[in-house]
Symmetry: D2
Subunit: 342 residues, 4 copies
Amino acid sequence: MAVRVAVAGASGYAGGEALRLLAGHPDVEIGAVTGNSNAGQPLVSLQPHLLPLAGRVLEPTTAEVLAGHDVVFLALPHGQSAAVAEQLGEGALVVDMGADFRLRDAADWERFYGSPHAGTWPYGLPELPGGRAALEGSKRVAVPGCYPTAVSLALFPAYAGALVENEAVIVAASGTSGAGKAAKPHLLGSEVMGSMSPYGVGGGHRHTPEMIQNLSAAAGEPVSVSFTPTLAPMPRGILATCSARARPGVTAADVRAAYAKAFADEPFVHLLPEGQWPATASVYGSNAVHVQVALDEAAGRVVAISALDNLTKGTAGGAVQSMNIALGLPETTGLPLTGVAP
Amino acid sequence: MAVRVAVAGASGYAGGEALRLLAGHPDVEIGAVTGNSNAGQPLVSLQPHLLPLAGRVLEPTTAEVLAGHDVVFLALPHGQSAAVAEQLGEGALVVDMGADFRLRDAADWERFYGSPHAGTWPYGLPELPGGRAALEGSKRVAVPGCYPTAVSLALFPAYAGALVENEAVIVAASGTSGAGKAAKPHLLGSEVMGSMSPYGVGGGHRHTPEMIQNLSAAAGEPVSVSFTPTLAPMPRGILATCSARARPGVTAADVRAAYAKAFADEPFVHLLPEGQWPATASVYGSNAVHVQVALDEAAGRVVAISALDNLTKGTAGGAVQSMNIALGLPETTGLPLTGVAP
Amino acid sequence: MAVRVAVAGASGYAGGEALRLLAGHPDVEIGAVTGNSNAGQPLVSLQPHLLPLAGRVLEPTTAEVLAGHDVVFLALPHGQSAAVAEQLGEGALVVDMGADFRLRDAADWERFYGSPHAGTWPYGLPELPGGRAALEGSKRVAVPGCYPTAVSLALFPAYAGALVENEAVIVAASGTSGAGKAAKPHLLGSEVMGSMSPYGVGGGHRHTPEMIQNLSAAAGEPVSVSFTPTLAPMPRGILATCSARARPGVTAADVRAAYAKAFADEPFVHLLPEGQWPATASVYGSNAVHVQVALDEAAGRVVAISALDNLTKGTAGGAVQSMNIALGLPETTGLPLTGVAP
Amino acid sequence: MAVRVAVAGASGYAGGEALRLLAGHPDVEIGAVTGNSNAGQPLVSLQPHLLPLAGRVLEPTTAEVLAGHDVVFLALPHGQSAAVAEQLGEGALVVDMGADFRLRDAADWERFYGSPHAGTWPYGLPELPGGRAALEGSKRVAVPGCYPTAVSLALFPAYAGALVENEAVIVAASGTSGAGKAAKPHLLGSEVMGSMSPYGVGGGHRHTPEMIQNLSAAAGEPVSVSFTPTLAPMPRGILATCSARARPGVTAADVRAAYAKAFADEPFVHLLPEGQWPATASVYGSNAVHVQVALDEAAGRVVAISALDNLTKGTAGGAVQSMNIALGLPETTGLPLTGVAP
């Protein structure tokens, strides 16, 4: 019997990607699709790539509209998910693609978001130690941020294996869809094509505490993170270049072994063959994550690099993966394993 | 029981796209994957986006290797398909993604390809009048060229309805994957990014006679075609802007009605709502074709525009669609209906 | 003695390009730079590529601010130039990069712009027959639209030489900067990268009557134009693919001779060597126009293709070129002859 | 009296950029242009953006051809410059845009290039402490690598001011032109558009020892460098994200003051206003370098980011700048100060 799924915030990029994946999910029947400012408009006028959903009209994001679904995906501005979730009650599985329930530390939340902390939900990154157990049967899922997904998967084996010191330096490049669909001058095609530029430099990016939370949990002690995000001239994709000082005596073989073991049974996260490096094009539109790692003997650092699609594994694909686990469906159901390349 | 499919020429873009789609086809089991110069190499070293096929090694393209499959996809340089097909005998369904068997007129073939004509196979564009009937149960399929697919779908309703004069003017923009994976200086990223440029101007492009063949068949009389292809700074996609002089008395309503009727029952070809125009991004990685049409009263021309993915509907997706029909499977099986956007 | 130049509308793309060129013009001293909504802001916060003008602050666009300059460049929304020009009086050379004074036919203006016609100024396309004479010593210049510049230069030799019939079919691809700097969702990088899409299809684009005006003047009789603009995934550049039915008896040699003669003495417009086709990358950031032409014997059409930079020769470079002529300076002063490539 | 300049290796990207700049240099007359495999071909068939040099034909790269010039630019594969330079004797100024003479440590050279060290020439980065003095009147110039230029300018003020520890972590994104014009499959537009990917990970990139050389000189003691280059989907530009642990007690004000002082009198290197971050688009085609710096209090690191055009300031523009100094010309002569944006 099909699972009925509603998507709130269906006019944006995260909502659109959720619908693209859910439309191809064999066990899902798409129910309500909602959007506030766009309520009343045909979905395909805003998401022309979703023509199989032609005929769907955006409804307002209200409890009445979202009621009566087995699963509700939330793609809302931060601060709005709590209220909606409360009204939905405990019956429905609520998958929040926003930030509201990702952080455990209320002080972190308040410092970075400047509003009261709504709480903490089971964290939707099954590949982390204990990640799947936390999601099985859960009625709430906090989908990780796109950068924390890329960074945590690239570095947790090094921290879980105590291979590196507790200071990580991360520079990540993201496609422009990570900045959302709101029209801002600096996101115009004329501005971004042919250009690389950083933003949120110096520790200000809101995904930083989430990375610290995940890496510290893997290390079993506090890890400091220097994170610099950059905007790359591509619509999708994150390439995260992560490094940390190697602990004394750690060898290249130790590092490779730890990563091979960490991802051996993962359906989506792949340690590439030696000599091959990740490229965001290879995971375009898929739920796959490509990881490679090296030990720089001269500089004494472990360098781990991951590539994923920020809208798929980084947002909506990760959300569907967690939904599958929470509902007891096979984890890979409805999720593309291959990228659209070239 | 799964259909066993081999792909010859699996190291290129057409072969890679065929494998991407076949890997997700519920009724298909992928058999041999072959490539000549790359025989012996792991498939994923050449097609890193196909990690679910890790472990596959490219075999040489020989009759022995290709024997014993229900279906064989050929993605070979033109002139090579005939020999391979002969050796495979009548038992297997052979789907040729190359040019060898597309043209009916041997003189056209020899003029544009400078070699003897190998013959003509059932033409894999089911949306054309009589298209499906020609494919049902067939053991041979000639997959259309990417440009002829885009142009024929954009214009056949106008010619079948006798709405326009028999002179078509076509300017099409293609992503660079249409030029293949062979490393040529003018196809370097440094050369193509930020640049639009034409090629094969003045009637020289080899897809021209195929367009003439299809449009003349729809019109029931000879149609002349002025075709100018251009290279666009994107990996995938074709946008075909096609126009022809409107016949006297033809109205905008006549035109719209003819197109609405032509595509009413098509699973992949969509006439967009009035006011919405095709964009290649909307069909990225999908088998969908978006079409829009207008009557320019002042210039007296019907302008029809189509967008498709040159590697999916334009090549490998069209091939899988025809395979489905030839085998009696539901036509849309294993084919993405939604584009990967943004 | 330096010519003092003010730029009104300096926060947009046309104004920014004018300043880039004027900053490198040996005979020019940049005076006031103005912008309405952005008045009071530092210029480089809006135009970070213009750091040599650091310290300049945008002033309001008023007659007082613009008074006392030898030349005033206007980069204003259409409908605003007339009022400003009147206040400046006859003393200053006013170069309008907007549309207000381009059209001779008031009815055309009113049909396409829906407002009263402001008048007609000397037309800033010196390469057209009689073009330079109209500009020498003039105190007013109407800078052509970017598309009409590309199309008129590609086709006027064919019409002036009576080589083609009076029906032109034009499909042009433009970089996104042609759509300006106002933030609109469909111009976001996420939407335009990897995508080709048409707009203003069916004769609605406002540049159409300007093309008809120029081509009809060259032909000496009315020419009809079917014009389809497309948006290409690049910041700058226009590639215009233009064709018209060849008149009986016209040969490829006739066509080439006419184009060679038309551009023989032009400093910026180049007929490429046979076999070489224009690419927008080759004219990036320069005032050059690359043209190539062919006769398609089979289709009976002359195909002429031009490439230029929509912001340089298509707008601000053309404006500086016309300023040079109007002031009696050498025509090429301060204008880049080479593109920035790759 | 004009300086006669020859360019050896004129068919590649570095040679083409040198010609673009030299063609606009008021004191330069371009002499011989050479290329080995392409000798005999018209320059513009390989460099269509250089139409003002139409008529020039590539000559072979021989001492006879290069003799009799005041300046010779070398854009040759590494290992070839020494032989050519010897034959030219002491009379001519030789500006080597290749790697042969950049490194002082012969062991470093041999380890990274696997060939005997040719020697060390005055280093063409005038902005470094003592940089200009080393170039004045010199007859030999080793133009720095593009990455070392970006990284050294971003970090030398921090090391010269003893603000940071002697371990730098650098992640840089480069446009594809940095990889040259040789056709390789992974550099095809189809592969690079929409993709970010790393290469030379783990300390292997040949520019690493050059960075160590420059930063160690600034620090007065050995500095270790972890360098990860990434390929970005753009033709030009380098964005270098550089960080190092701040020394105890260092404040944000200390950092800003050191950078403001370092670049106060530089014509090309600009410390951006606080809150504004570099973008490669802003320096496209110019010799400018945009730098910004921040102190990440939480992570305890100084983060310095620079943007430049790898072909202009990173190669040919830096070469012309050094030529100007060596010849006693004003340093900025013939060099664009503004980027081509958007």
